[in-house]
Amino acid sequence: MAAPESYPDGLLYHHEHDWARIEGDEATLGITWFAQDALGEIVHYEAPDVGAAISMGEAYGEVESVKAVSDLISPLSGVVLEVNAKATGEPETINEASYGDGWLIRIRLTDPGETARLMSPDAYRAHVATQ
């Protein structure tokens, strides 16, 4: 069962419905409540390889529901340090806890200045209201 709608403080947001939690020169990435709700029950997470370089605004993987496929758009550029094995093994976790156990990858930032181009929780909530 999916969690209630929320866009937590302390995260930065990309308009393609991804979030980033910045921890020094690393970041944890995932999809927002809005994204998982739009997709429905997620049954497959196609993750990138550890060590892969990913770029802000570009696809780094895919999530699939029974009916649809969606690209995962990276909110920041970096190198993949870790893939969340719980999310690949039990993709429903992404619906249940999109900001917690359902995180997708951890990266080392290659351009920390990009964080200035992401949205605050308030700005992202306003963006979602227009969707």
Partner: protein, 355 residues
Amino acid sequence: MPQLRRTPLYDRHVALGARIVPFAGWEMPVQYEGVIGEHRAVRGDAGAFDVSHMGEFEVEGPRALAFLQGVLSNDLDRVAPGQAQYTLLTNEQGGIVDDLIAYRLDAFRWLLVVNAGNRDADFAWLKERELRGSDVRDVSDDHALIAVQGPRALERLGLPQAPAFTHAPATVDGIEVMACRTGYTGEQGVELMCAESDAVRLWDAVLARGVVPCGLGARDTLRLELCYPLHGNDITTDTDAISAGLGWVCALDKEFTGAAALRAVKAEGPARRLAAFVMAEKAIPRHGMAIREGGEVTSGTHSPSLEVGIGMGYVPAALAAPGSTITIDVRGREARARVVKKPIYRKEEGTDGGS
């Protein structure tokens, strides 16, 4: 784009929080709570589907049987009043104009239930070929149709057991219906036809009996696990019944449109066959994906029962045997799949499957 149509239950779907999508010219619920839960409700208990978008034709007259025998592939001589039959409307090349169920109402009267997206084309097709003494009428707008499917469907509705592919008048909480022991899920169940004006009352009565509302999403995963073809995807005017594995609904010993072409395909053996497959690695096949050995995926999804990617597609006949390995192009990545015997999913013992 023409205006999308709504069934009499549209407001009920919205009130239940359904996600509404365009389908075959209609605004239909694709899911309420979620496809997987709805799928499991039908496999384990009972689910209700609004299928009022489907087309219904009445064919009546002293020559109705002779007319239908000439345009439909299966043998209606074997169908008595109170019985029904799955059959194909075929073209001269043996292609499939539509698949449908023919219900015999009495000696001279039949009801055909056809796919929503083919309603107008089917009607025109039948009208062109009508015989003197057989009258075809489109009665779709007079009726609503609610499918109630699952091992507890009859029990929940308070309806008696009846053999598959039969129909009888019945009442559900005082509402008069034609209860048809047919469906598209592989589970025991009924399709309830009622007057358009009774649709909302019937839907409410069915749900009040603990039946779970289900959308088109679950309808698709349920039918694909059973390898029931979807017209427009798995079978079309360009695919023939023999290659599609539907030779069992073609009475090749009678004359009907395209029979000669189908006899030829059967005699020579089809070049390709509609095979069912299960992914051997984590990937979900989708309609239109190429099969490297030849052909393409005609239907694909995630199977909620088996928790694996499943699909059907036309493959070279030599690869259609169970146990063969095929390779699907999943957006540029090659994923292996194993051809399996149909159906992909089988009920455990003790239940009555097959509609």
